[in-house]
């Protein structure tokens, strides 16, 4: 075979390059963050529940927010009937979600930073004041 050595060296460099992020982070595992739920608004709630159950919100809030967006903007459906507690909620990121979760930094950002995702929500939507002051 021609240039076997060169090919092997090349492959080694390639492997090293592509696994670098994993190798670099080895042994420095960071525990998953626990988003904080201790905002005044949440503490006021007698029944401390979000619009749907925690597991669903944790795994599917992105699709759920898209669904809400389409309902409000495209179909003018501005209230949501919760399947969790039968309550009606205003469909609004700024006026419903963030009213309770006014601690964007300790709630949204803690996980998003950990998972290294950069949602563009806040390019347009205005984050709650409390969070801004604490930043």
């Amino acid at each position: 075979m021609y240039d076997l050595n060169k090919i092997l060296v090349g492959l080694a460099i390639f492997l090293l390059f592509f696994t670098f992020p994993i190798l670099y982070g080895m042994g420095s595992a960071v525990p998953a963050p626990k988003p904080k739920l201790d905002t005044p608004e949440i503490q006021k709630l007698t029944d401390k529940k979000c619009v749907e159950d925690t597991h669903f919100m944790r795994t599917s809030h992105m699709q759920f927010l898209n669904y809400w967006r389409d309902k409000a903007v495209r179909e003018d459906q501005r209230t949501y009937d919760s399947k969790l507690n039968g309550k009606k909620y205003d469909i609004s990121l700024q006026n419903t979600c963030m009213k309770c979760h006014s601690n964007k930094k300790d709630f949204c950002d803690s996980c998003h930073t950990y998972a290294s995702v950069k949602p563009y929500c806040w390019d347009c939507h205005i984050e709650p004041k409390a969070a801004k002051e604490s930043m």
Partner: protein, 275 residues
């Protein structure tokens, strides 16, 4: 409840696999349940309603030009809109964002102004906004349905979907559309207190325009500009349902002479000017 939620999750998971998102899953589980409560869902689903089938609601604005030109320095409607919708003050007229603004009769009706404009009107400015046309050219040309016509006649913008191709701006014969040439947030730097915390701003690279405040209509309120005008007791802006013969807009249109901008283009604007 519990079972259906689990089912939803499964459906959401499966449909997410196929890139469909949760919407489809929701529709499968609650077909029509959410739509039923809608007041405006009587018309066609979206876009241009079929001829002969009249929607229950067609929102319209009547602007009493004669009353408004008496309030020469008044900007209340414009300011109310700007602060409600977080519209930046850009400064550079080439990049201005305008939902409602004041301009002169000669500019707004360039094809109608007589060689001898009456003195009362000449050079006088009054408000103008998106016409919410019955046959909107902007909706026709949009390649993503980011701008679409609601069954109640409002020509709406989906800011999440707009790709910023600006085809709608070329199509709009009324200059009612504004593009975010830059990040609008930077015009609020140091002025964050001016932002309305209940409404978003926009991002750079999308087109925006007047929406007749659907979030206020949903609460039974009138658009912010109308409210501001009423607060001043000027009553130059009258808002209502064009498809209701007893509405205030229909009553005043029966009594007074009204004109619309560029009627020859067949767009059927929902904004009327009393002259």
């Amino acid at each position: 409840m519990k079972a259906s939620r689990r089912e939803f999750l499964k459906l959401a998971g499966v449909s997410a696999l196929f890139g469909l998102g949760a919407n489809a899953a929701f529709e499968l589980l609650t077909p029509g349940a959410l739509e039923a409560s809608s007041e405006v869902a009587h018309g066609a689903a979206h876009g241009e309603a079929a001829e002969g089938v009249q929607a229950a609601t067609r929102w319209a604005m009547v602007i009493d030009v004669r009353k408004c030109i008496l309030q020469e320095d008044c900007q209340d409607c414009v300011l109310a809109c700007n602060s409600t919708h977080n519209i930046p003050t850009v400064g550079n007229p080439k990049e201005e964002i305008k939902w409602i603004w004041k301009d002169t009769f000669e500019h707004l009706f360039p094809d109608q102004h007589s060689q001898y404009v009456d003195e009362g009107l000449e050079g006088k400015a009054f408000p103008v906004m998106c016409n919410h046309c019955q046959y909107p050219p902007c909706v026709r040309v949009c390649p993503t349905k980011a701008t679409f016509k609601r069954p109640d006649g409002i020509v709406m913008m989906d800011m999440h979907r707009c790709i910023g191709c600006r085809f709608c701006m070329a199509a709009c014969p009324y200059g009612a559309r504004s593009f975010n040439w830059r990040d609008p947030r930077k015009y609020f730097e140091g002025k964050e207190a001016m932002l309305n915390p209940e409404q978003p701003t926009r991002t750079k690279g999308v087109v925006e325009k007047c929406t007749f405040c659907p979030e206020r209509l949903a609460k039974g309120l009138e658009p912010a500009c109308v409210e501001a005008c009423k607060k001043r007791k000027s009553d130059c802006l009258i808002f209502g349902n064009l498809n209701d013969p007893e509405s205030e807009v229909r009553k005043i249109l029966r009594k007074r002479t009204s004109i619309r901008r560029k009627p020859e283009l067949g767009t059927q604007p929902s904004v009327f000017f009393l002259v």
